[in-house]
Amino acid sequence: MSRPGFVLDVDRSTPPILFWRDEQLTTERLPVGSRVVYPPEPAMHIENPDAAIKDALASPILGEPLRARLRAGMRLTVAFDDTAYPLLRTKGSDTRRRIIEAVLDMAADCGVDDVELVVARGLRRRMTERELRQAIGERAYDSFAPKGLIKQHDAENGDELVQIATTDNGDAIEINKRVAASDLVVYAGMSLKPSDTGWHRIVTGLCGRVTLGDGSREHVSRLCDAAAEQLKIFQVDTTIDTSIVPPSLSFLSRREREWNPLDKGRFAIARELTNIAPARFNRQLLNNLTVRYCMTNVVAGDVDAVGKTVAARLHDERTTTISGQTDIVTFGVPSFAPFGPGSIANPVLMVAAGLQFLFNLNEGTPVVRQGGVAILHHPARAEFNSVHHPSYIEFFHEVLTETTDIAEMDDFEQRFASDNWFKQLYQTSYAFHGLHPFQMWREITKALRYLGGVIVVGGNTQTVRRLGFKPASTFQDALEMARDITQIREPSLTHLHAPPIFTADVS
């Protein structure tokens, strides 16, 4: 059994605590009395993932085994998750690839000829050939791609969408035509946190842009209910362990006090090198790092049942229990943020990684109290990837210069939504949809409304101000500013020692 999560109370002897800082690393000395929340250590992984997948397919949680659902002449679609995860590149076989290969083998056995693969990318960018080959394997790619049987879901192409139902409000629910018309859809995915499980990801990944609306959780849950009635989906969901960096750097997720001299030496070198080297070089390095992610769970069957089981297991493996909220939460934002693999964590994505992803890693109660302060460590350079995030560039330069209030962004949002250039880049190039930054900002807004203030340490002042936050040149300055905002002389502080990704259960 691996070590559970841990909450460290900072005292005088506590060493400086690690903060990720885009593609750099740094440490900060936290005030005495602060607490540092560490994730549980990696769970026991499955020794033979392929056998485990076969087992899961043969004995699903609810309903018939996959083999029993397959028959000759049927229309089978294998949909799978795209590259949205905040992870480094996978070394060896991707879990999606293992599942897809197992499913395809079984389908071939059963004489199923009409098989297509669909990337459930929602409003995210298309996967490149290289990414696809990595995700589904060379064999599957080479036999499907030349025949045009690997489709990347296109939420803008009316010809590839079909209405399957209407919501309670009477809005049409349009979903990927192939998925809707299939006798069976196998959905291969991976969950990092409990909220990843269930219908949500499937629906957002495969519905039309208009159907998706503002992409809010409430709206999507309504879609999920309708979709659950209409779609026949056999989900295969997996979880991986929390070792997010190569073994040589695995000490980074451990407690600083336990670092041995070799770890300290490695850290010092890594810190200095990443500080000296140009950001471009660091990014290149990180984008080329590969990690062998180990599968810890594989569960198949009915979407809701699979979702509940996986969420429960994630809770067991990845939760640290802490008691009570604090006035301040701090976290470093690493460069491998959501929606930025192989790219640049631009300022908007940085905020999303901090205030949408990391901030929400909890079981419903944030670690910071309402009106508290979030302190992010990030250089906040106004750098963008012009292939992946063209709409983010304009969002940053045109929208955020006017307003940071999502309620005032309607005109912009409409313009971005109807922009043919963004649409084309989304459809044919490798760009996130024009609406994606707005969805991110909407999610961020929830945290912003909850918090009393956001401070970015060591960030480009201009950028931080444009985002509507307060820049601080040092961590100590940030603490001073947090005191002013909270009006408390000795505010309490929680530091989330992430990555790896884990959930804080605030009791």
Partner: protein
């Protein structure tokens, strides 16, 4: 008429004003510095006279209108305008007239009416001259040498016997050391005996010789090379136009050099003094019965009193030097500390000319020198001290708002200063040329702009030293016995009204309170430490560019919207399906062709692109089309300028018609379709699903682009004057010139220089993110 404008002086018939009252006086060169002052002074101080300006005919305005615009509007007339108030226009209408005449034409090219007007003239004040010390020889000969004779011919032809007051220069005495007397050039022992007619013939021959030589084979090739160096791979007509300008400049420079050389060979400092001296000689020979008086001023500078202290017209001789000192541009200037710089305020010269004209016409030609050197000398050291002192108290400010410190003056020899400046100019020129040859853009391109400015500054300084050095080093002392005699013979009232005795000049007062403040205020220099709050011109221009309207907006593609070129696109596409070994082979095969391609690019953009396209012979249409999409989606987009892509969409949003013109392949730029109403790109022809490697038509480069957009605009009813073009290279000049709003994007060095000179809007667009370092397709296999 005089009754209308009564004046106390006019009532005394024996006074100067009285003697000239009711007389008609013709003035040549009235649009010049001295001429304007003469016309003003006659109108103001001789209320009874009538003034006729003889001005060069112009196509736009009749002579009188030209005089009204170019003479009467000058601030010289402010005083008179204030004195007369509403009566000013009436007075001008009554007393000032103009006829068309040109001193470079025989008998001034006067028509019958002109002759009739001239016939009624009492005196002709001939002040028209080309005063630049750097005039081409032919022009100086026609105007300065033959001009006075032509005026005399015209007077004779008109049947009149008007008194010709010819303005010459004291420096006809040449580089003489010692006293220069008020003697006719023919009577002076130190004036060289020169056959002026032979000089005229030689001057004209020099012109035709230079024209011939400029058309010789090697010369023409050289001009073409220089045009090419300045413009790069621009279109043929553009290079031709530029080449012809280079040739004309060469001819002109040749004539300037010849003039200077000839003048110096005969002992004059420059072509001005030389042609003026020969002009005197010619007039003495050709004048017939016409009474002639020569007035020889020294260096004319701003007015001491009249019409108002400090009045000056144009940036003249000593001004650039004096401003240059204040700007810290000239750190030393050759001159003899104990030497005399002979300066005379313009109002003294004007007074002398009028006083001479009021005298009875002399039977024998007479000379009056108007100079300060013998009666009230200004020593060079004194001048330097006064100027330095003034600038210390009233410093000029540099671009950063810092006061310029005027250095301690050394008195170097001309040779030394020239040598130093020559070295600096050489270093700057070489650096600039090297920069122009390097494929730099952006900041380096702007650096070359700064270098160019410095070089021009240094060249200007060298020019001053070369031209004016002779004057600051002059050791001639101009006697003004005749002039003083005339002055002393005048009545008290006349002396007060027409004061031309230099004795009352207080040089400290003149320099500190009159001349320096005047030229500094006119010199467009910073006299205050605070920098002017500059309105953001760039933002304004951008707003104007995006103003809604029926506009055509043309974009170039490579280096304007993406930082990439045809060879990069080729390399990316060619390597896409190759393994490591094949990639190495491809590079090995293409590498030896690089120098050739480099030269080809400099010579002809179209041929350069064709070379790459030929390599696609035999490529599968389907495969290449697919790869081209991928090239755009990954490589080109990562090298794109997001600001540029945004700008296109802003233009579209403003209702403009957007057009892309590029030599890139249509299959490569196809993804840009949503941004443009139309795309003109290169198209490869196909046969059996393969590309042939040939283009279906010539790639749209150079002037073809200009024709194309002219044609396009006409077809769609768009106004080119309102249209916008974005481009990055000098080969796009025809296109940029064809529209009303050219915008230069991240310009290469040459275009940067051109844009700066023409005041074109420059955009600096940036790439975002981490574009690939090499134009090589990433391997797809993980």
């Amino acid at each position: 008429m005089p009754a209308k404008h009564p004046s106390p002086i006019a009532e005394d018939p024996s006074s100067i004003a009285g003697r000239l009252s009711g007389k008609r006086i013709a003035v040549t060169g009235s649009t010049g510095f001295l001429g304007t002052a003469i016309v003003e002074r006659l109108l103001r101080s001789v209320p009874g006279c009538e003034v006729v300006c003889i001005v060069r005919p112009s196509r736009r305005f009749d002579p009188l209108e030209r005089v009204r615009r170019e003479v009467v509007r000058n601030d010289c007339f402010d005083r008179l305008r204030n004195e007369l108030g509403d009566g000013f226009d009436g007075m001008i209408g009554d007393r000032l007239s103009a006829i068309a005449g040109d001193v470079s034409k025989d008998r001034l090219g006067l028509d019958a009416e002109g002759m009739r007007v001239l016939a009624g003239c009492h005196a002709v004040m001939h002040s028209a001259a080309t005063v630049s010390f750097e005039s081409p020889l032919d022009l100086a000969v026609e105007v300065n040498l033959l001009g006075p004779c032509r005026v005399a011919d015209a007077i004779r032809e008109s049947g009149s016997n008007a008194h010709l007051v010819a303005v010459s220069t004291a420096y006809v005495a040449g580089n003489r050391r010692g006293e220069a007397f008020e003697e006719l050039v023919t009577d002076t022992w130190y004036s060289p005996e020169v056959d002026w007619q032979a000089e005229v013939a030689a001057g004209r021959r020099v012109l035709s010789d230079a024209e011939n030589e400029s058309r010789q084979l090697e010369r023409l090739a050289k001009f073409r090379r220089q045009a090419h160096r300045e413009l790069g791979a621009a279109s043929t007509p553009l290079l031709a136009e530029r080449g012809e300008r280079v040739r004309e400049d060469w001819v002109k420079q040749r004539l300037v050099d010849q003039g200077k050389a000839r003048a110096q060979s005969l002992g004059w400092p420059d072509v001005y003094a030389y042609t003026k001296a020969l002009g005197e000689r010619a007039l003495l020979q050709q004048r017939g019965d016409i009474p002639v008086t020569f007035v020889r001023p020294s260096i004319i500078e701003s007015a001491l009193h009249e019409p108002h202290p400090g009045w000056i017209r144009g940036f003249r001789m000593a001004e650039p030097v004096l401003i240059g000192v204040g700007k810290g541009l000239l750190k030393s200037f050759p001159g003899l500390p104990e030497g005399v710089l002979d300066v005379i305020p313009v109002d003294k010269v004007v007074a002398a000319i009028i006083a001479v004209a009021a005298m009875p016409a002399p039977e024998k030609p007479t000379v009056y020198q108007v100079a300060s050197g013998t009666r009230k000398p200004l020593r060079y050291r004194q001048l330097v001290d006064l100027v330095t002192e003034w600038y210390r108290n009233n410093p000029l400010y540099d671009a950063d708002g810092q006061p310029v410190i005027v250095p301690e003056w050394s008195y170097p020899t001309r040779g030394k200063v020239q040598r130093q400046l020559d070295q600096a100019i050489l270093a700057l020129t070489v650096t600039e040329r090297v920069l122009h040859r390097l494929p730099f853009r952006g900041r380096v391109g702007e650096l070359s702009g700064r270098l160019e400015e410095q070089r021009i500054t240094a060249e200007r300084a060298r020019g001053y030293v070369e031209i004016y050095g002779a004057y600051t080093e002059s050791e001639a002392r101009f006697r003004i016995d005749n002039t003083v005699g005339l002055y002393e013979s005048m009545s008290e009232t006349d002396r007060a009204a027409f004061d031309f005795d230099p004795i009352d000049i207080d040089w400290r007062h003149y320099l500190h309170d009159v001349h320096l403040p005047s030229i500094v205020s006119q010199g467009r220099v910073r006299t205050k430490p605070v920098q002017k709050t500059v309105v953001d011109r760039a933002a304004n221009t951008r707003r104007n560019l995006l103003a809604p309207g029926n506009r055509l907006v043309v974009f170039d593609f490579e280096n304007t919207l993406v930082k990439s070129t045809v060879p990069e696109a080729y390399a990316w596409l060619a390597t896409r399906h190759l393994g490591t070994i094949d990639r190495a082979k491809l590079i090995a095969r293409r590498l030896p062709q690089v120098p050739h391609l480099f030269l080809l690019d400099r010579r002809d953009r179209g041929d350069f692109q064709r070379t790459f396209y030929r390599w696609w012979a035999g490529a599968s249409v389907e495969q290449l089309t697919h790869d081209a999409q991928e090239l755009f989606a990954t490589f080109l987009l990562s090298k794109s300028f997001p600001e540029g892509l945004r700008r296109i969409r802003q233009h579209k949003a403003a209702g403009h018609r957007t057009l892309l013109i590029t030599g890139a392949l249509d299959i490569v730029v196809e993804p840009l379709r949503p941004l443009f109403d139309d795309i003109f790109a290169s198209t490869l022809t196909e046969r059996d699903g393969m590309f042939t490697g040939e283009l279906s038509q010539a790639p749209p480069v150079g002037e073809a682009r200009a024709l194309l957009i002219k044609d396009y605009a006409a077809r769609h009813g768009l106004d080119l004057g309102e249209s916008v073009a974005y481009a990055d290279s000098s080969s796009d000049l025809p296109m940029l010139e064809a529209v009303g709003h050219p915008v230069v994007v991240n310009p290469e060095t040459r275009l940067s220089a051109i844009a700066r000179r023409r005041g074109w809007h420059v955009e600096r667009w940036h790439r975002e993110g981490d574009p690939p370092l090499l134009p090589i397709a990433p391997k797809v296999n993980a």
